[in-house]
């Protein structure tokens, strides 16, 4: 009565062939991105060795300069894994810088009080968007586009001009360094890495994380399997709002000012990092570790162009565009192979 009747020669055999396994492996895109990062780093080493590119600090600066992007991209990874999209990230970051600067500078509140307030506002904004997406069954693209305009507009309600922060506790926090051998990391970079580790744990070792993957794989099935799909979706956007606000705080520390135009379009960088990191835009497949490499690749492009010296900064955008295009094409061929 046991059933081992399937012939292994058939194309739909039970044990996928070796090649199909490698090509269909969901970890492959992450490895490709990690490989790309290593190649780019090696190119940098060989070209700019005499200009100090080999120093550990140059490497660690990738984390320091992109800490806020990493946090925002981690939030975006949750949303994209669930099959959605969040366009409000940049605006929430901009709003958080204004909100923080205004409370600290104009209202004189201590930064330790302002931080939880800013995080709560971001998370609440994300919750609202998730609530609307879920309960009114509206496309996330539209709802978060509304969020994008809303938060950017709220920046201008606070002030039309930029507010620089002179508060001593903020600047000491911004300048704090955690030394690592001969080099150092900023507090922002540490926070970003902690967020990354927490996200990895949540996605792979909690029921909530697995529900995010399930919804991204097939939302209708997730519902019929009895999973609380609505609550999970709202939680995902809440999480993204929280991460955006946290990214906004890191950005405030990094720039030490609030400005209504801060982080305009940063959501697109975050989405680009997620996609380059191998997460499928259709949801359900990807790793937050890939997002780390996506952010590092984007950061490395910036540093390489700085080291080159003669290139204008908009070459960063061009390189990002080319990479994004290439990675989406790779995804496309991989998913079609998986289906075949």
């Amino acid at each position: 009565m046991t059933t081992t009747t399937r012939k292994p020669a058939a194309p739909d055999s039970r044990t996928p062939s070796g090649a199909a396994r490698v090509l269909g492996d969901r970890r492959l895109p992450v490895l490709v991105t990690a490989g790309l990062f290593l190649v780019m780093y090696a190119v940098g080493l060989s070209r700019y060795q005499n200009y100090g590119f080999a120093e550990t600090q140059v490497f660690l600066n990738l984390f320091i300069d992109n800490s806020y992007l990493l946090v925002a991209a981690v939030g975006a990874t949750f949303v994209i894994l669930s099959g959605g999209i969040d366009l409000s990230v940049g605006s929430v970051i901009g709003f958080t810088t204004m909100f923080t600067a205004w409370l600290v500078e104009r209202q004189g509140l201590p930064i330790v009080v302002v931080i939880p307030m800013a995080l709560a506002v971001g998370a609440f904004g994300g919750y609202l968007m998730g609530y609307v997406i879920q309960n009114f069954e509206i496309q996330p693209f539209i709802v978060t586009l509304a969020g994008l305009f809303l938060f950017r507009g709220l920046c201008l309600v606070i002030s039309k001009e930029s507010i620089s922060i002179g508060d001593s506790s903020v600047s000491s926090m911004a300048q704090a360094q955690v030394s690592l051998g001969g080099a150092f990391l900023s507090i922002g970079a540490i926070v970003a890495l902690v967020v990354l580790a927490a996200a990895f744990y949540v996605l792979h070792y909690t029921r909530f994380g697995r529900r995010v993957y399930a919804i991204g794989g097939n939302e209708q099935s997730a519902l019929l399997m009895g999973l609380p799909q609505g609550g999970t979706k709202i939680a995902v956007y809440t999480m993204s709002g929280f991460c955006s606000a946290l990214a906004g705080l890191l950005f405030t520390l990094y720039i030490q000012s609030g400005d209504p135009l801060h982080a305009t379009g940063l959501e697109l960088d975050a989405i680009a990092a997620v996609v380059i990191g191998g997460t499928l835009l259709t949801g359900g497949s990807g790793y937050v570790v890939g997002t780390l490499f996506g952010v590092l690749v984007l950061g490395l492009i910036k540093s390489l162009i700085q080291f080159e010296g003669t290139l204008s900064s908009w070459w960063t955008k061009i390189a990002t565009g080319v990479l994004l295009c290439a990675f989406i094409l790779i995804q496309r061929t991989m998913t079609s192979r998986r289906k075949a």
Partner: protein, 512 residues
């Protein structure tokens, strides 16, 4: 079999939708350790009864008792927790997750909120093993064919009942048309699993359109017609003819008529010839001739290239070799438009996803192809349109006979008829029917087959694809046999051609 109390008893079930009484006073019993078929034509109320039982619909009257206690479910998860699990026709699992995760998601073993992956994989492997299946639980679900995914869905359903911790397990397993897209070997595998579960005392409710399968695996059956209970019988006490009569509520004249029907002989000159037409990855180059008024049937296993062949002749996929000639003129087949212009119509096997627009009315769906053929600047005059639609609704007996009804609300058989009407209205020279009778009830099946016969008598050529060999044999003048994406034989139908002969041809295809 000693009969203890039924595990599930539904009495006097009533369910009403606005304007329709879907179930009126239906009784239904299910005993532990039996496989129970729920039968009826499309629209008889099978799905409604299942949805009432699983808590998708609320009850308007009647009682449900489970193990002697009265219950009332308000959501699918409530029914699941009580030990009633359902596996639907479409596989409702997440293809991106591993098999083990699909079995356990929502009730993963955790320790302080952390998922214990090792334990999860081990328990999944044990469960799969216990049910006599050979599946690597660590592989992603998408790496398995549909049939295995269906088995995984059953494993999940069986496992879900264990979650209450009482160890009682799943008591009732509902399988809603699980076999409709499986081939023969896969069906046997499914049946083996069903029998094993039955041996463990699970009560299985099995819905299928294939009567042979009912007779193969079921112990007892309940027949519904128009929302009322017609009868409950032991399978061994009722033969197929009697069952069909119960289901459709009338004698079998129409079916008998078809059995006695002689293929008409006046097949005309050649209409379509395909010379070495093929497509890499689709189907190997083939030659095929279809004459005027001829019915050409395609036989072969699921995935043998039947649909691929049809799509090439319609230009839905572009052939990369060979040429197609229709009515003496070569047709480029670079897009369906070329084929439509040459008089070819194609009814897809996926009527829901590739054919009909569920939110439009019957009238709009029927008129779609004719309007497309005329171009958007020349609308079909309203009077002519209404007349045509009324004529085809009548001719094909589409129910309800209301041109304003939304197609999505029609039963499967009637949707198929709407799709047919759409193409017939354009008066094609060649009609390609890909599995026109899949998933529809026996009455509608007979009507569609009769229609094919009368169309061919009127001089229309038909390319007919069906999974059931008897169906192909009954209707076709010529039978094309496919195997492993290759047209291996063309047989002229005659008394010596039997299902066995075709099966032998499929089996020995390489030597032809």
């Amino acid at each position: 079999m000693a009969e203890p109390l039924p595990v599930l008893e539904m009495t006097g079930i009533v369910k009403e939708f606005p304007g329709v009484r879907a179930l009126s006073g239906v009784d239904f019993r299910l005993f532990p350790g039996e496989i129970h078929a729920l039968l009826g034509e499309n629209g008889a109320g099978k799905s409604t009864l299942i949805k009432v039982l699983t808590g998708v619909y609320s009850l308007d009257g009647g009682t449900v008792t489970l193990n002697g206690a009265s219950v009332r479910f308000t959501s699918p998860s409530g029914a699941q927790q009580a030990g009633i699990s359902t596996v639907y026709q479409e596989v409702n699992l997440c293809p991106n997750l591993s098999v083990a995760e699909n079995i356990f998601i929502g009730r993963e073993p955790t320790r302080f909120g952390r998922i214990q992956w090792k334990r999860l994989r081990r328990e999944a492997a044990e469960l799969v093993d216990r049910l006599g299946l050979d599946i690597d639980v660590t592989a992603p679900l998408s790496s398995y064919p549909l049939a295995v995914q269906q088995l995984v869905a059953i494993v999940r359903a069986v496992g879900t009942g264990d979650s209450d911790g009482s160890g009682s397990g799943t008591k009732v397993l509902i399988l809603d048309e699980p076999t409709s897209s499986l081939d023969r070997d896969e069906v046997l595998e499914l049946f083996a699993l069903m029998r094993r579960l039955k041996g463990e005392g699970v009560a299985i409710l099995f819905v299928s359109h294939f009567l042979d399968q009912i007779y193969e695996v079921c112990d007892r059956m309940t027949v519904l017609r128009n929302g009322t209970l017609v009868g409950e019988h032991m399978v061994r006490d009722l033969d197929q003819v009697g069952l069909v009569q119960l289901m459709i509520g009338k004698a079998l004249d129409q079916l008998e008529e078809l059995h006695d029907h002689q293929l008409h002989a006046d097949v005309g000159e050649s209409l379509l010839t395909a010379d070495g037409v093929g497509r890499t990855g689709g189907i190997a180059p083939f030659d095929l001739e279809i004459k005027k008024g001829e019915v050409v049937g395609l036989a072969g296993l699921l995935g043998s290239g039947r649909t691929e062949l049809a799509r090439l002749l319609f230009g839905a996929d572009q052939p990369d070799s060979g040429k197609v000639t229709i009515g003496g003129k070569q047709v480029s087949m670079s897009a369906p438009n070329d084929a439509i212009a040459a008089g070819v119509a194609y009814c897809s096997e996926n009527r829901r996803t590739e054919g009909l627009v569920p939110d439009l009315t019957v009238r709009e769906n029927i008129i779609l192809a004719l309007q497309a053929a005329r171009g958007w600047v020349r609308p079909v005059p309203a009077a002519q349109r209404d007349e045509l639609v009324a004529q085809y609704i009548k001719a094909l007996d589409i129910r309800p006979a209301n041109p304003e009804a939304r197609v999505g609300q029609l039963s499967g058989g009637n949707q198929q008829k709407v799709l047919l009407a759409r193409w017939l209205i354009t008066r094609p020279k060649l009609l390609i029917l890909d599995e026109p009778t899949r998933g529809i009830d026996i009455g509608a099946k007979a009507e569609i087959q009769k229609l094919v016969v009368s169309l061919s008598e009127e001089g229309m050529s038909v390319l007919y694809i069906a999974a059931e060999l008897e169906e192909v044999l009954r209707l076709s003048h010529t039978i094309g046999v496919l195997r492993d994406r290759r047209l291996v034989a063309r047989l002229a139908n005659g008394p010596e051609i039997t299902p066995t002969r075709i099966l032998e041809t499929i089996a020995s295809g390489e030597h032809q």
